[in-house]
């Protein structure tokens, strides 16, 4: 990492922070709405884990979902905006290394994910009492989950040439994978086929492991989840760095 990395990270954090009403407050509000509606509709019918109410169960999942979606939105929207407006030259002309660019966009996505996640917890703090059985597990999954989607956002931002291509990536890949990752239910309640299908979804491990941090219970052992999520992050990071080194769609 060179000196330029710090500046690029700072710029990427400032970029979302300057419009935090839209990039932090709005997703926190969406999560609250999900919480209010789903807990009202389902609280009487579902008990996901023994001794854990549905509303409680829902909170970590919703927080993680927001973190994942916002981490993705941060890197992908920044890159596509810079490409379309042309100001990407400001980072392509200086002596920034592929590692600098990757690291700065990734970490800024993690920061956005964590800020939004913290916002969701702050907002529900007084509404839903929540245990915190293993805070370090929760933190580890928050970091790896946000980083995973931050990296995916970089790939999407590099690949997409228009806003609608990026929207397709978001609507047909990121949204289904996060919604079907066990945010609203325990995968154990699913038929065997869908249980098996869920286990192919890397986002599932991020949410399941994150929930373990709160309740000390999960569908998959947290060590396994962390290993799978981290392994996916490493593979995606390798791919992203390769794209950046090759200049794919950035340096023609």
């Amino acid at each position: 990492m060179t000196g330029g990395f710090r500046t690029l990270l700072r710029k990427e954090v400032l970029r979302f922070w300057k419009v935090s009403f839209q990039t932090v407050a709005a997703p926190v509000l969406s999560s609250l709405l999900y919480l209010v509606i789903f807990s009202h509709a389902l609280a009487a019918h579902v008990e996901a884990y023994p001794g854990v109410g549905y509303t409680q169960f829902l909170v970590p999942g919703l927080a993680m979902m927001s973190m994942l979606q916002n981490a993705f939105a941060n890197s992908s929207s920044s890159l596509i905006q810079s490409k379309i407006t042309g100001n990407i030259v400001f980072i392509l002309l200086p002596p920034l290394t592929p590692g600098d660019i990757f690291g700065a966009y990734l970490l800024a996505s993690v920061v956005r994910g964590l800020v939004v996640g913290a916002g969701v917890f702050l907002a529900v703090l007084f509404l839903v009492p929540l245990p915190l059985a293993h805070p370090l597990w929760a933190l580890a999954f928050a970091l790896v989950g946000s980083a995973l989607l931050g990296a995916l956002g970089i790939v999407a931002g590099i690949w997409a040439e228009k806003f609608d291509q990026l929207a397709a990536f978001q609507n047909f890949l990121v949204m289904p994978l996060t919604f079907l990752a066990g945010v609203f239910y325990s995968v154990k309640s699913l038929p065997p086929f869908w249980q098996a299908a869920s286990q192919l979804n890397p986002f599932f491990y991020a949410i399941d492991g994150f929930r373990y941090g709160f309740f000390g219970q999960s569908d998959v052992p947290p060590g396994t989840s962390l290993a799978i999520a981290t392994g996916t992050l490493c593979a995606l990071s390798w791919l992203t760095l390769r794209l950046l080194r090759s200049g794919y769609k950035l340096r023609s």
Binding site: G3, L8, R10, K11, T85, V89, F90, L92, P95
Partner: protein, 307 residues
């Protein structure tokens, strides 16, 4: 001495189009160099290849001796490019933009130089204004400042005066001349040929991805354009001895090609012998525009023959 810019047999092809078809040129440190040519000649592609925005298919490009691929960090540290398109980041103010740009080059505490740039480009009053609120001309000044935050020894200006008012043009050229006098090499592309003629000591002309002329400005002017004696007179016809290459312009004056002072003397002597009363007389200096048109026409024949 290490050349400021060294380009050796660079080729770049987009599909069937040879955007750069074997370009070679050298720009010396402290030189003021013009890169001219019609739209689509490959000027911006060449500049982009220097800055690493475009990857050449083959050939070598060096900035201050640093290869733009193998040694890209040093090459980019030595190069400041003012892009042709007006681009900006709407999230930041002018000063923030320049501080960020300094940071990307690893420079901290660059405030003094940033203040000087703001001052020299008359951006001081707008330093804390958001980029979005600036006029087009102001945005272009910020682009110039951005290209200079790291004091690069080589500065490339890609049509910096397109659509820019007279005042900015004057401010910009005064500043750029000063930078050039301080030893920075300047590469300029422009469609205003009088700017290139006035500022640049050497000129390369490009067409269809090739260099079709490359020489000192003075030599190009001398080789491709002739001085003209423009004379209006009464009392006689044009003597036959002067009719070679002569033409009558719209104001009724004859334009006679002359090579030097001696020929002017001879022409005037002939006119007097024929009994002419001279009403108006001037020697028109050669113009780069005329040279440009001639070279492009000649190159057009050549590229046509090649196809």
């Amino acid at each position: 001495m290490t050349p400021a810019v060294e380009v050796r047999d660079v080729r770049k092809r987009y599909g069937k189009l040879d955007a750069l078809d074997g370009i070679s040129l050298t720009v010396e440190p402290g030189e003021f160099f013009a890169l001219l040519g019609p739209n689509g000649a490959g000027k911006t592609t060449l500049i982009s290849a220097l800055g690493g925005l475009v990857r050449a298919d083959s050939g070598e490009l060096r900035v201050m001796g640093h290869d733009v691929i193998r040694d890209y960090r040093e090459a980019r540290r030595s190069l400041g490019i003012v892009p042709q398109e007006i681009v900006f980041d709407p999230f930041f103010s002018v000063r923030e933009t320049l501080e960020l740009q300094s940071g990307y080059f690893g420079l901290r505490g660059n405030g003094k130089w940033i203040d000087e740039l703001l001052d020299r480009l008359a951006l001081g009053p707008k330093a804390d204004a958001n980029m979005r609120s600036l006029s087009g001309g102001m945005k272009r000044r910020v682009l110039v400042a951005q290209a200079l935050v790291h004091r690069p020894p080589v500065i490339v200006l890609d049509e910096p005066t397109a659509g820019v008012d007279v005042e900015l043009r004057q401010t910009l050229w005064a500043f750029v001349r000063e930078l050039n006098a301080a030893g920075h090499a300047i590469i300029l592309t422009t469609h205003y040929l009088e700017e290139a003629q006035e500022l640049c000591s050497r000129i390369a002309m490009m067409k269809a991805g090739r260099i079709v002329a490359l020489d000192d400005t003075a030599r190009l002017l001398a080789a491709f354009s002739e001085r003209v004696l423009r004379v209006r007179f009464a009392g006689c016809e044009l003597p036959a001895a002067l009719s070679a290459g002569a033409s009558l312009d719209a104001e009724g004056a004859w334009r006679l090609p002359v090579e030097g002072a001696a020929q002017v003397e001879t022409a005037l002597a002939r006119l007097r012998e024929a009994g002419a009363r001279i009403e108006h007389l001037e020697v028109a200096e050669p113009e780069l525009e005329e040279v440009f048109v001639k070279i492009m026409a000649k190159a057009g024949d050549a590229t046509g023959a090649r196809a």
